[in-house]
Amino acid sequence: MNSAPPVIALSAWREACLGALDRGGRFCGAYASGTGAARRWNALFADGAETLVLSADAGAADPPTIVDLIPAADWDEREAHDLRDLRFEGRESQRPLATHAPETASWTVPVEGRGTHQVVVGPTHAGVIESGHFRFHVVGERILQLDTRLFYKHRGLERAAEGRSPAAGLAFAARACGAGSVTNSVAYAQACEAALGLVPSRELRRGRTVLLELERLYNHLNDVAAICAGVGFAPGNMAFATLKERALRLNCELAGHRFLFGTVAVGGSVLDLDAAAAGRARGELGELRADAEAAWRELAFAASFQARLGGVGVLSTEDASELGAVGPAARASGLHIDTRGTSPGLWYGSAFAPARPPAASGDVAARLEMRAAELPVTFELLDDLLSEPVRPGDAAAGGSTGPIGVARVEGPRGETVCAVELEGEHLGRLHLRTASYANWPALVHAAAGNLLPDFPLINKSFELCYACVDR
């Protein structure tokens, strides 16, 4: 990934993308870069620890769409159209994604028939929820189709980072999402390091892995609480909110910030735990683990809660794969992808095995159980990592440099893909594609056919973020 990818002619673009899939690649994002005659349309394919970058010359003409070959590229193409002014040859519809057109018909799927009507929600919601707009087409209580309109929170973070130094650009990647700040920061730092030819030291790899697992811990606890809240089961919600609060306090104790902000740097880490601090953390994590397991057992006995979860919001293995789902949601549907197993820049080792879902039924129950099954893995990893001191690490020159750096990092909700293109000393382009971005189309798909009152539950079982989609 370190030499600039050869530029592919538009006539060979679809062929090249298909070829990448045939060789076992998994589509993991696409973005436009450059301007004028130097404009490129780039597609990324995950292949083991490597990421293949395909680059099409979009300087003189519009690239052909690949959405019929790779449905997961739908949002990427729509976003490139709205924010980077790219058009796609052969796309049947170019519904706006980031642009908010006033006419509803321009961005919704037409649904007609006897008794169909729309239920409109947002952008502001009844509880403490991020801003986003949903339009449910329903018959009775049954959802026929869900149209989402996000990007209300679009802050232009990628564009704002462009022209800055790699070190200064970190803040933009870090603040894309509070709950995925470490994941996105590590992905960004690794992408910059790949472009700058920096190789992380052992300590840096360990330090970042500790931070990533601490982030996963509080998020998974949060997600279990959120699913309980999704059906109004207050005791479960409060029990796991309490556990999450303890995890946040531990973060603050270890790294000085409840959400671990400011702990990642390009080419370094600031986490510094001596043997005593690491030992204390292990002790606290042990207690947290015991209490989380006890609370989980209690949830299993809450029959009225359990009765709400099965068969709701089903995402099939095939649909998860077609739509490019990632993370616990994909694993709960039987897709065994976990970037932690192929992350040489971190400390997971080749023996890392992601937790398998008890049943890969792809419903709310499976997504909930997936979180519970992954928690022990995280506790084990942290216990192991904290068995010795964690010192600040750095990255040393030694790798090959190049104009593009790409990194993929497994966060709580799945993989973040970050691509940076350097122009001299500065960022020419920053592209951040988070797990929430990958999973929104899957959530929308899983909602169809379900009852409208079950939507909050389905939504919470994915627990996607709006901030890092909108950026």
């Binding site: 009844a126 802050r155 564009r159 709950a179 409060m238």
Partner: protein, 159 residues
């Protein structure tokens, strides 16, 4: 479930929150105008047993029509300016605007100028400022409790 409830009772006891005072309340409507979501996480945490803001009469309400305070997070994006103004207009008087977090306070704002509306202060009269990135649940509680504890205006007799 009863085990969970017993456990929560213990957490609440150990949190040793100050006793509730007075009989006043504050209905808060949250509005996300482009946050990174961490401010929302902390606002949600104020309902957890370790903080339990409800015991001070502070509650999140579903509609601006029921709210005393509009609690705003984020730097106010262009696309959220309209919904922000509409929420404020829908509120009954007297109404207060609270800025939650450094983004809403206009300091350290990240983003492309072209995508951001004016800072919250320029759009609405901000009466409560809760700094932090994100502010901790204690800071949020403190910020909101100053309103609950402030003398009523016009001063009321009892309470």
């Amino acid at each position: 479930m009863f085990v969970l409830l017993r456990h929560l009772q213990r957490v609440r006891r150990e949190a040793a929150l100050p006793p509730r005072s007075g009989a006043r309340s504050l209905a808060v409507r949250h509005l996300d105008a482009g946050s990174c979501n961490a401010c929302e996480h902390e606002l949600t945490a104020t309902a957890a047993p370790q903080y339990d803001l409800a015991r001070f009469g502070i509650g999140i309400v579903a509609s601006p029509r029921h709210a005393d305070v509009l609690l705003v997070t984020g730097p106010v994006t262009k696309r959220m300016e309209g919904p922000l103004r509409r929420a404020y207009e829908a509120m009954p008087e007297p109404r207060l605007v609270a800025a939650l977090g450094d983004c809403a306070l206009g300091c350290g704002v990240l983003g492309d100028r072209a995508e951001l509306a004016a800072p919250l202060e320029e759009l609405l009269p901000v009466a409560i400022r809760i700094p932090g990135c994100p502010p901790s649940p204690e800071q949020i509680a403190e910020g909101l409790l100053t309103v609950v504890r402030a003398p009523l205006d016009p001063p009321a007799g009892r309470r």
